[in-house]
Symmetry: C2
Subunit: 362 residues, 2 copies
């Protein structure tokens, strides 16, 4: 972390964000320049929070973590604007998904975003293939980035992937475009695998600072939720590895009952030795997505597991029921905002931003 200029959040920083379960639970384990954002919040100055989705499928419990952080950082101050990129260019370059297909999938993604509580009055949602400012910034950024740098950051890839990377730099700088009110602190909540990309974007921002005044983007890094099968991270390629926000109740049941836990080989052993919740994917789902206002419930599960007082079967049943309740609640909200999501996607597609940044004319 030190080598790349990352820090773990300090006690003061966690305290400042103590209304966020993912800070209290140390799901956000590292950051860069978080104090720049805290200063902006404290002094009531404008800042932006930025994320996006590659619309190749529905949100799952892994990818949805970023949405929660995104909405939280917007809601944390009335001076925050939220900028959301529908990465249809990346979906094309990386997965061969046409812009039209992306548009369809994006409706589901945006509805999840709205159901998570985004304040639309201070949000700007766009398609990469339809937002010229992103390309203007990508072109600014490209000058002077060598092929050697591209190879070091992204590996030896085809031009589509390199173009997509430049466009993502454009995404991250978009909140600072003059049309969106110009330079401002910008926070990008990501998984740690995104850090090389963030570092390159900071280099670019720093190079363009003399003329454009860009502030180097700040970032937070969350733990990556593991696959339900216990190994790598949840992957869109393997449906049994994740719970999608669109999975129905019976499928969620099946996946949770099937999931990898920190249990022992036999009930007797588990009572004697206790379980290992740090290995348990079901516990991880609870930690990431349940009991947002009840840390004590999470702690109780952990304590009882370690003490051998709680076996995996009953534990799974409790978490499963609470998860299904949570998902149903989310789905109720989502169905309510679905017409709005359709409208937002349609207007973004037609390059007519529905909602504008407070100080910008986007």
């Amino acid at each position: 972390m030190e080598q790349f200029g990352l820090s773990g959040p300090t006690k003061e920083q966690v305290e400042f964000f103590q209304d966020a379960p993912f800070f209290r639970r140390r799901i956000i384990f590292a950051h860069r320049d978080l104090d720049v954002i805290i200063d902006a919040i404290r002094s009531g100055r404008e800042y932006a929070v930025l994320t996006g989705i590659k619309p190749t499928g529905d949100y799952h419990m892994g990818t949805f973590q970023t949405v929660k952080e995104f909405v939280y950082f917007q809601r944390k101050s009335p001076q925050a604007i939220a900028v959301f990129s529908i990465a249809d260019i990346e979906a094309w370059e990386d997965n061969g998904i046409s812009f039209e297909e992306s548009k369809k999938i994006a409706i589901s993604n945006v509805s999840d975003l709205l159901a998570a509580g985004l304040d639309l009055e201070r949000a700007y949602i766009y398609f990469q293939s339809k937002e010229i400012r992103v390309h203007e910034l990508a072109a600014l950024a490209a000058r002077g980035i060598t092929l050697a740098t591209m190879r070091a950051v992204y590996g030896e890839r085809h031009m589509g992937l390199y173009l997509s990377a430049l466009v993502q730099i454009g995404d991250i700088l978009l909140p600072q475009h003059p049309d969106l009110g110009g330079p401002k602190p910008t926070l990008v909540p990501v998984g740690i695998d995104q850090d090389p990309h963030l570092r390159l974007t900071r280099d670019v921002a720093s190079k363009l600072k003399p003329k454009w005044g860009f502030v180097e983007p700040a970032s937070t890094y969350h733990l990556i939720i593991r696959s339900l099968l216990g190994d790598k991270k949840m992957s869109k390629r393997d449906p049994m590895s994740y719970i999608s926000l669109r999975d129905d109740e019976s499928l969620v049941r099946k996946k949770i009952l099937n999931a990898f836990t920190g249990g022992r080989e036999t009930a007797q052993l588990q009572r004697e030795l206790g379980g290992e919740p740090w290995k348990c994917v079901v516990y991880e789902i609870a930690k990431f997505h349940l009991y947002a206002d009840k840390d004590e419930e999470l702690e109780k599960i952990y304590r009882e597991c370690v003490a051998g007082e709680r076996l995996c079967g009953e534990c799974k049943m409790q978490i499963l029921e609470d998860l299904i309740e949570e998902m149903k609640e989310h789905e109720r909200r989502r169905i309510e905002v679905l017409p709005t999501a359709r409208q937002i996607v349609e207007r973004a597609w037609n390059r007519q931003p529905l909602y504008t940044a407070s100080s910008g004319g986007a």
Copy 2:
């Protein structure tokens, strides 16, 4: 030429375009798919002609040749649309010229374009940094272009240059974007040095044909007018190598009197052996830019030179006076259309296209 699928224009093709001095004089010496355009003209079907300018300075006698061809191919049929790219992204990536500087220089470029006789009712003029459709097409194109291909076509360059190349592919495909009326034959008049780029664009168009219906762009290739100093081509880097359309009379005089000719060492030798007009840059200027409707005058100069009846001094004086008259006439027209040029640039900058393609909604 054969190796790359180029042909010289046939007698029939030259006959078809006999109202164009640059066909009669074989300045256009090669083409690809010119019959596709001739067919469109003959049958009254829509086609596009496309060119652009990297706004790093004023047009000169070399670069202006393309403008003449561009306007001619538009005027040749009432069904032609003319699409003109102000390549501000290329100017940035290649020369470090900011978009704002490009905007200023573009006014001069566009005024020359209008003075050359462009029909604005059927023209679309845009900035690369402001036209999202170009980037949509560039992104479509990028998928599957390998780094090896980029290196083969453009050499080992930085990302800015590669991005700029992708954007130029977007330029060439723009007339076929659904918003501009969809697939249609497109002619790109260029110098022969642009051929590798055209070939790559044809590959891309062919790959995207199944879904987008793109027609592979046709092209014509003109001879490159040489430097006034007799060696390489006119270069914006060396002002004595070219005559700019903004050079004043005394500067034009100086440059022509200074220019390399096909004359012999002494007047006596020249009377004995005759001159070598094929080596003469002053003759080349006449061939490219003078006596558009008087081939006989050009032939007379050539004949008299070869016969030793015409010495360089007097010849230069004649061509100089005729050139200055031609330039004054152009300048008169240009001053007239300058307010329109300003307006076009302003509106293109603000992403409000002033003139739309007949069947499109650009």
